[in-house]
Structure formats: C-alpha cells, structure tokens
C-alpha cells in the first residue's frame, strides 16, 4: 500500500535568529527536501528614494549611510564618486588616499561580521566573539577620526569632514601587526574544521553562467571562478596605484562555487585589504582636505550611473539632476537585492538545515535590499 504524502509550507518568519535581519522565507517542503523557496522582502522599506528628492545633495549623505549599515563608508564613497563625476571636480590626492584607507578598513570590519555570524548560524559560537573583538579595534579607529562608531557622515562631496587624528597612523600600524596572526587563528578555528567543511562543502553551488545572467557580483561571483573586481576592471579613485591580488574560488573542498568557496574568498580578501592599507599609509601625501568642497551644489541637467565595489558586490548609484538644488531621482542598485533573486535557485534539492548555511554564505543585509 503506497503512503499518501503531500507538500508542506513552512514559514521562516520575519523574526528568526538566523535570517540576518527581517526576511521572510516561505519554504515548500516535501518531507525534508526543499521544492521551492519564495522570499518576501519589504519589512524594512524606509523610503530612501523619496527622501532624496526632498533633501539637497549634501543632505542625502546621512541617509546613504543607513542603507547598508555594515559598510557605511562605502555607501558614502559611492555617492561621492558619482556626484564628483557629474560635477566634474578634482579632489586633492590626500583625500583620495584617506578614502581608500577608510574603505578598506570598513571592508575588513564588514567581512568580520559576515564570518562571525556565519559561524554562529552553523553552531560555532566562539569565532563570533573573536571577530567582534577585532572589530572593536577598527571601530575605535573610526571613532577617533570622526566621532561615530557605526554611521559616520564622513565622506562629503569634494572632500572629507575631518582630517586624520595625529595618532591614527600609529594605531593603524599596531592594528595590522596584531591582526595578521588573528586571521591564521581564525582559519584554524573555523575554516579547516571538519564539521564546518561537512556542512558547507558541495552545498548551494552557483554555476558561473547563471551568476552572470542574474547580475551577481562581488565575492559571490569571484567564488564561482570569475576574476572580476571593479577596483581593477572599472577603476575609480587611486586604486590603480596599489599592488594587490584578487582571490578566486577554486573548489578546494568541493565543487567550485559552493558555500565554502564563498566563505573562504572573504577570508582571503581581508589579507589583501591589509596589503592595500599598508601601501596607502606609506604613500600618503600632505594636503588640505576641504579645499575642493563646493559651497552650493547645483549640477547641470543630466544623469550618471556609477558603481563601486562594496564588500557585498557592485553598488550602483543612478542620479538624475534637473538643474535645481534637489536631485530629481536617485536610484540605488544594491548588490544584496540581486543576490536574493538567485537564492531560490541555490536552495532547490537541499534540506532545511542547508537553507541556513546558504543564507549565511551569501551575506545579505536587509537595509540594502529594502532601502
């Protein structure tokens, strides 16, 4: 006699300890195997684009901070690069170097949160505390420069709001010296741990053709085997003056493009960021940081689309100006929005516990998806 079975709908609701923020996933299950996943977003929609049309151009910067709250420096950086290309102003070299140093420190801080919470989702609680200990040192560096720990309002159109603190360079060199052995410790704790490898290798494989068709970028695309980094392929600021490598997923522990590859590419990227910061500190010139900031910003009528390399992928700003003091349209192309589209493809055929592993490896931030 055959057993009668039917599909079940399970709700991973907006309040859940492992969805990184307020995300609702509707899982259609056949026993324990997943047939389909339907993500529902919009629980953090804060009307960023409507606010931009009511504020002046410099007043938009605190709002861009709050979109991707784990990498706020990069959001401001992207907006400043877009506006400077539209207004055609040249920024002093010291400003460019400081922006690169802050951006790379922010990249390390963001990857530390991604790795720490991924370990906590899988079940390992200790790496979470280790990563947050190192992150507190980076937040201390940001705090002595501009006064805030998380949302800075530091990178302005045409310059910066404060110059570097006199102790900043010394403290950064000490941080780099203390952080390099910590990465090795983290690898021994988490990356080469047998239980971690069993849970993440061969799970959630993203083929390269699918990734390019959907528009995926950043560490997720690099883990699928393609060497594509906007700092080298579509350069902005002074990144062409530094010598660094781009880590790519090679399928060490399973297929190319699985969860372990996506996680390991982030660990290797932290090393490369340390190299960039060291070179930038050696080469930084003197100068005035506020000399190119315009008094009133009234761009000519026109539009521009610029993109920068966020820790999560390609962050794009599309700005249309109609000649007045307020923008006519600001659209933000968030990398996590595009990655959530590809998420149902990654989960089909795996089990419920793998959904948590795949969601953590893809590293989304809900503030960016919902804007």
């Amino acid at each position: 006699m055959a057993l009668k079975t039917e599909e079940m709908v399970l709700n991973m609701g907006p309040q859940h300890p492992s969805t990184h923020g307020v995300l609702r996933l509707e899982l259609q299950l056949d026993g324990e195997i997943i047939k389909d996943v339907v993500p529902h977003i919009g629980y953090l929609h804060r009307c960023f684009e409507k606010h931009c049309e009511a504020m002046t151009y410099p007043q938009v910067i605190p709002y861009t901070d709050r979109m991707d709250y784990l990498a706020s420096m990069y959001n401001e950086f992207g907006y400043a690069v877009a506006m400077e290309r539209l207004l055609k102003i040249e920024v002093p070299e010291r400003v460019e170097y400081i922006r690169v140093i802050m951006g790379e420190l922010q990249r390390i801080a963001s990857h530390l949160v991604a790795i720490g919470t991924y370990g906590a989702d899988i079940g390992a609680f200790t790496p979470f505390l280790f990563c947050f200990r190192d992150r507190e040192r980076i937040l201390h560096l940001f705090e002595i420069t501009c006064g805030a720990r998380l949302l800075y309002n530091y990178i302005w159109i045409g310059g910066l709001s404060h110059d570097l603190h006199p102790d900043f360079i010394r403290l950064t060199k000490e941080f780099i010296k203390d952080f390099r052995p910590n990465v090795i410790e983290l690898n021994e704790l988490l990356s080469y741990n047998r239980i971690f490898i069993e849970r993440t290798a061969n799970v959630g494989v993203l083929p390269l053709e699918t990734a390019i068709n959907y528009g995926v970028s950043g560490p997720n695309l690099r883990a699928s085997g393609m060497k594509w980094d906007l700092r080298k392929d579509d350069p902005y600021s002074v990144y062409h003056k530094f010598d660094y490598d781009i880590p790519v997923g090679k399928g060490d522990k399973g297929k190319v493009g699985d969860c372990w590859d996506r996680y390991y590419v982030r660990v290797l990227e932290m090393e490369e960021s340390l190299k960039i910061i060291e070179q930038a500190i050696e080469q930084i010139p003197e100068g005035d940081i506020a000399s190119a900031i315009p008094k009133r910003i009234k761009p000519p009528e026109g539009q521009i689309y610029t993109r920068v390399e966020n820790p999560r992928g390609e962050l794009g700003y599309f700005i249309i100006s109609d000649g007045s003091l307020n923008p006519a349209r600001v659209k933000v192309r968030a990398p996590s929005f595009v990655t959530m589209q590809v998420f149902p493809e990654l989960c089909k055929g795996f089990m419920v516990a793998d959904v948590v592993a795949i969601l953590g490896s893809v590293d989304i931030v809900l503030g960016e998806i919902d804007r």
Partner: protein, 163 residues
C-alpha cells in the same frame, strides 16, 4: 543587594518582603527575545559580545518569545513589520517589558517627515517601558537603559498594578 545580606546573621534564614524577593529575582535574569531590525541591532550584538558584556547582567538571548521577559525593539519599525511586532508582544507571557532602542523606534527617527511606510514610534502599537535615545545609541547607553529598567522593576508592587 543591601536589603537581603543584612539579614544573614548565623545559619541561613533570610527575612525579606515577598515583593522584594520577587522583584530581585525578576530583574537579575531578564531574558531577551533575539529581535534586531536594522542598524541598532548591530550595536545590540556588539553589546552582547565580549567588549561590553550583556551576560554579566543576566541577559541572554532566547530564540522564541514564549520563553523571554524583555523585548528590545532596535531599529526602524515599518507598517509591514508593526503587525508582526504586535503579534510577538501578545505571545510573550506576563510579566513582560519593552525597551525601545534608537530614535527610529522612539519617534520615527530621521524618516519622520517623508517616510510613507515608517511607523513614527513603536509606542503607537505596544506600550513601552524605557526609551534609549541615539542614532545608534552607544553600547554604554543601552546598558544604562537596562539599569533604568532594573530600577523600575525594583520599585514594582504585586498589590498595586502600575499604570
């Protein structure tokens, strides 16, 4: 606890009012629902990490609202989410407390003027005990908010219901 250790003379008999004993038990082990919405949630996670520890006050995160005492609303509350917050609040068993962290949940925050989807303050759907200002508040500010909540619990009475 100034009240209780003066009662220990010899042997182990403690004489105290029932109210004080209940209040002391409740405020020393406030278990919170792990509920973070936006940027303030990252500061809440940093408060529970090792630099500014939450565990030394007895606060540990629990995954389900049916096993917790306090809910910390950290981040912007939108209309889509407000309906679910009301449901979570009704699922918590008595006695329950609410801490509103950050200016978005106090009064709408920077989105008060043109936010068509933002609820201007979480006290429009659930009653709040302590408000912690800041955008985002420093971890020390959140700890002070917790201490203020503990003070409020210490002065509660089991006979007269508070407002």
């Amino acid at each position: 606890m100034g009240l209780l250790d003066q009662e220990f003379t010899e042997g182990n008999i403690v004489i105290a009012k029932t109210e004080d004993l209940f209040n002391w038990a409740r405020l020393s082990s406030l278990w919170q629902v792990g509920f973070g919405l936006a940027c303030c949630a990252i500061e809440m996670m940093a408060t529970s990490a090792s630099h500014y520890d939450f565990d030394r006050f007895g606060v540990i995160p629990r995954p389900s609202p049916r096993q917790s005492d306090v809910i910390i609303i950290s981040g912007t509350v939108t209309f889509k989410m407000a309906i679910r917050i009301k449901r979570l609040y009704e699922q918590m068993p008595d006695p329950k407390y609410v801490i509103s962290m950050g200016s978005c949940s106090n009064c709408g925050g920077p989105y008060w003027e043109h936010g068509y989807h933002v609820l201007k303050g979480v006290d429009r759907v659930i009653p709040v005990d302590v408000y912690v200002p800041g955008c985002p508040p420093r971890p020390e500010a959140l700890l002070e908010g917790l201490l203020k909540l503990q003070e409020k619990i210490r002065n509660e009475s089991i006979v007269k219901k508070s407002a």
